[in-house]
């Protein structure tokens, strides 16, 4: 079947099997390997991407279901060589150690800050509660999101064209 969607502002059109999961479509068909593929059971959250601005676990959504929608992956955070404040925050505050959970963590953080530009610790912790950092670096992730909140100058989701 044919699917057409926008990924990081680019129109993508591919012929796929209906059973193809969004995470594999993004990684294998489109070649954007920044989206990580982890537990495959919608527990770990490293595969989180934004679909129409909302965080979604891409291992539990069919690529077919995303057809006609706007998808943002970690590659879409940076615009014209300028990192998003969330990316900058993760760098400044050591929000990543091994980096495996990072793409999902950053996209969830990005969506959170769109809705709540000044989240409390509790709100941040709740927002990322569906994602696992096996390095257990949660404190620095929360600090990174605060850093991003204090340095919000980035473009809104989907403006990367």
């Amino acid at each position: 079947m044919q699917v057409n969607m926008t990924i990081n502002g680019q129109e993508v059109s591919e012929e796929i099997e209906p059973r193809l999961l969004l995470v594999h479509f993004i990684r294998d068909s489109v070649g954007l390997t920044g989206t990580h593929w982890g537990c495959d059971t919608s527990n770990c959250g490293t595969c989180v991407v934004l679909v129409d601005g909302e965080p979604v676990k891409s291992c539990t959504m069919l690529a077919a279901m995303a057809s006609g929608h706007e998808v943002t992956t970690v590659e879409g955070l940076e615009v014209d060589g300028v990192l998003d404040p969330v990316q900058e925050g993760f760098m400044q505050c050591h929000g990543l150690q091994c980096g495996f959970c990072t793409p999902g963590m950053m996209l969830t953080s990005k969506a959170l800050l769109e809705k709540d530009p000044n989240p409390t610790d509790e709100v941040i912790r709740e927002a990322i509660s569906g994602q696992i950092c096996r390095c257990t670096g949660y404190s620095t992730i929360v600090r990174s999101v605060h850093w991003a909140a204090e340095h919000q100058t980035a473009a809104p989701i989907g403006s990367a064209t």
């Binding site: 989180v48 979604v56 676990k57 539990t60 959504m61 069919l62």
Partner: protein, 291 residues
Amino acid sequence: MQVPAPFEYERATTVEHAIALRERLGEEARFIAGGHSLLPMMKLRLANPEYLIDINDLTELFYISEESDEIRIGAMTRHRELLDSELLAQYFPIFRDAEKVIADPVVRNRGTLGGSLCQADPSEDLSAVCNALDASCVIKSTTGERIVSMSDFHVGPYETAVGPAEMLTEIRFPLKANAGSAYEKVERRAGDWAVVSAGAAVWMDGDRIAGGRVGLAAVGPNTTLIGPVSEALDNVVPSEELYQLVGDIAAANCSPQTDQRGTEAYKTHLAMELTRRSLRRAVARAQGQEA
């Protein structure tokens, strides 16, 4: 790598279209709503539909509305909307209690009320909530619609009253005066399935409980509504003794099984204790003592 078996994909554009597709494609077709129960089952090949009918474009099924004597919720309303709804929090605080502990925020962005009920997992939280609130389900077909109570909706584990050419479109919740409700869940880790959970709803007449209902999750393949509780809550004065009595009734009327989440004895204890706690909070809320 977990991959579903091959299937054909169709996307419905209206409720009528969805039902027509289901009628044409037959028993081997399934609707997919949020997909957060069905896709994991398809990955494990526990579900192998030949056709998936995607109903995520049916915007007509995304709503929470207030009528004169009931709240109506569209079947595609997502967990996040149920959690955030001030209308539901006002009338049925049990929803916010339950939604806070269902999966995690990202999963709640996709999962739906209708999908949860149609999955009919005996451990599923919203089935207990809907039973406690005496909800009824609107099921549509090409020839019309019928309304079934929650107790008739769930036929058995993973089985509902929805026929092969039908669709659950709406869930209705009767509004009662001076009502309160609450949900209590014990889980092994945040966002997990319940070890056991209990939902209670009561409505008051002055200082007395006029009536009440209790629904449990994860206490047996066919147990959700604890019927005998409703008799014990018919026109009584609330007290700790009453909560204990009702908790004991709940424990005596469930049939949990020992599994990785706990022993039968532990789950039976939880059925008692969580019934007691949820009932206590429901009464406090009905009396305006707790938000």
